[in-house]
Amino acid sequence: MERRSYRTDLWIDWCPGCGNFGILTATLKALEELNLDPSKTVLVSGIGCSGKLPHFVNVNGIHTLHGRAIPFAMGIKLANPELTVVVHGGDGDLLGIGAGHFVALGRRNLDIVVVLHNNGVYGLTKGQASPTLPMGVKTRALSWPNLQQAVNPVALALASGYTFVARGYAFDSHHLKELIKAAIAHRGAAFIDVLQPCVTYNDVFTAEYYRKAIYKLDEDPSWDPYVREPTEAEEKLVKAFRKSLESGRIPVGVFYVNPHVTTYEDRLSSVLKVYPKLNPANSPIEVSGKPVISAKAFERVFRDFIVYVES
């Protein structure tokens, strides 16, 4: 089979050395290795440097509003559950302005992958502190050390109910690619926190910093994040939480995978029996310009609202 090209020919306008290049490379590689059909794959992004990523990838791309990539993706996925839907968003996007949606997706366990571009700053607006920048840290553009505490993305994802939670590093494309592939293969809401240097505005959490701080979870042969039996879920979740709170060195890899939680698609099919086989995108709504519901059917369907007069 001919190899597909997953790269558009657009010039990439990220700063030279930007962590986004690594995330893009991993994304392209993952799509290639999974051989996903571009017309059945949708990348959905928010606003900021990360938001431009879909334009560089030759699959359907929806570059949405700041913070709202997840609800856009949800509508797409619910309407056409056959599509592979991957969200790319920055830390300000997914954990600041869009944090409510981030939590809600976990609750739903809808089959969507969320890739967090975590660089600690709002790059495109010149380097303000993002929700993942630790308190007391002063990056280049700040007037004084950050006064707000950081949110822990992995812990938040675990608490919200994501059933696949991982962390990767932008400049370890091979490792990140494998995480993305595993996240796409997972049924349910999947989250990957990607540590990403911002060469222009984050002069604290640099590539050099990460090179020293990062270690891989699977270096420890006893690390097993997979919930094999539903009864293991609590124990594995607690372990993942504890791991997410580790300070000093930064673990990357898979924190938690629980395939035993029903997806939103499953839950929906318990009330809409025909779903997802019959779904909003493939069910007919008209026949030659007429509604699928005839005048007679209308009276049958809505009989509770019709009163036959007996004078």
Partner: protein, 637 residues
Amino acid sequence: MVLEEASAIIGGPQGAGVETSIAILARALARVGYGVLADREYYSNITGRHSYIHLKVSATRLPRSLSYPVDLLVAMDAETVLTHFTDLTKGGVAIYDKGSLGKHLEEIPSVEDATKARVRRACEERGVECSVGGVLKYLEREVGVKLVEVDFGRVLKSLAETFKLDPRQLSRYASGVVISSVAVVLDIREGALSYALGAYFKGREGLVQQNMRIYRLVSSELGSYRGLLKLGKPSIGLDKVLLATGNDVVAMAKVVAGVRYQSYYPITPAADESLLLEKYSYVEDEEGPIGPLVVMQTEDEIAAIASAIGASLAGARSSTSTSGPGFDLMVEGISFAGANEVPVVITYYQRGGPSTGQPTRGSQSDLMNAIFAAHGEFARVVLASGDHLEAFYDTVLAFNIAERFQVPVIHLLDKFLANSLATTPIPDIDTVSIDRGEVFRGSGSYRRFDLSKVVSPRAYLGAEGVVMWYTGDEHDEYGHICEDPEVRVAMYSKRVEKLKLVEESIPRERKVGVYGDGAPDYVIVGWGFTKGVAIDAIEVLEKRGLRGRYLNLRLLWPFPAREVAEEISKVPRERVVVVEHSYGANVSSLIAMTTGLAVGSSIVKFTGRPITLGELVEALERVIVGGERRVVLSYGA
């Protein structure tokens, strides 16, 4: 005396069964052939505060408006008697609970202080004691009202004995007493009542039996009052009617329109529509399956609009329903839909603002919000509906416009319509069409925003062999970010200019409905729920020698400037009267802006209660005969 039509108020504490009462009574009345229009007034409260139904029943037509004074007052509690005793007509009927007789205004904690002062003033002006007994005595002596006393307690006690009911559950049956006493006083035949009870309590035969037992108890107690208010023989001539609220009608229309994705965040008075849609989200009819419709309760209104846009991109007809506060949150999403030419429908039920305002009261004060909210310029369409039947057809039209022209469409309704129960002709489904617009069926190099057409053929996400991009940034034909000035001008103009195509495609009568005299003395301009009361007022004034015309604006944006200008030019400008549930009579500004013509007069109401017939007739006379330019209405508790 036999009445052609009768008005009534049925009141009681929120949660005590007022809504159940009207659902069953309206069905019984419709069964016999009467027309009913019933507005529901209530506080933002779950139990205890004063709520009431204001209704009109007609033997000769489907009522379009509500009227004061009322012929019948039905009071489940003391607060209803005291709040509404001034609403009764001479010679009317008051049904009340014997148990409430001793209650004094000052002892009722649920009455707001301002309302207490108002009621106290009404008592003082009439020189009556502000107690249930006091005002009833006054009504009987001075207003000729016939008093019908029902001992709610005794009826319910007897019911409890017969069916061995837990006394704590008895309050559930109070609605049965209300329904039964009204049925006796209006002389509704028993068969119609048992039919209505059976339909309402479908599958709960016990409740039907118990309520019929209540009916017999009340019937024997009130035997001498049977037909005290006698309605004429029904002559409307419909063999079947739809009995539904505005929320219900819009939901039914969405099912017919083929909506496949509906999102919502709970808000009054929109949420009921989505709840009903859940019930009909998939139906296996004998002619084939209908649906599935995914109804999604989102985490907020931002997610509601965003996910509706997402579903639309994937090819589902999609919509979201909300009210003012929710719409405000959706505005950035609407701007995205405009920029990306995404068909999406927002059903917008107005309530009293600003801010939380009056969450359960009606208003038409969001006209400008619906038309102008959002940054940048782009085509959007705003529709309004004058009654339940129009709301049905306009709902379908909204989706057809949205998909044919790839624009966001806002269907602007209000709480009055949403919550009023009405008998309506069955919508003619055979006349309904579905227009999905031009869909791209090819494969390969696809340009989503093909500039060779104002409306570029649309492909759905997932279409075989097709890849597309969307972005909120200015973009090229493929949907990639592009800031080139020439592309900017071409794309921007395309999005704005399609509004002209929308305007040309909509037939005149769907833009502006005209009623009344073609050579009028005065012209009323309104939109939405004012339609019924305006047309009725014109009829009343015609008998007094004034010929009026009503313009029912159904297309609010693009504004039908030419059609409106032609109509309002028929009379001097001070005889053009805008009637609106707002402070600003805001449609006047829209007319001035689009036609250059200044509207001379206005009649407005912003108490949160609907404009009623008597007050509108009086106000119109003040404007047309008396020369007043602005009248502010306020009647109704």
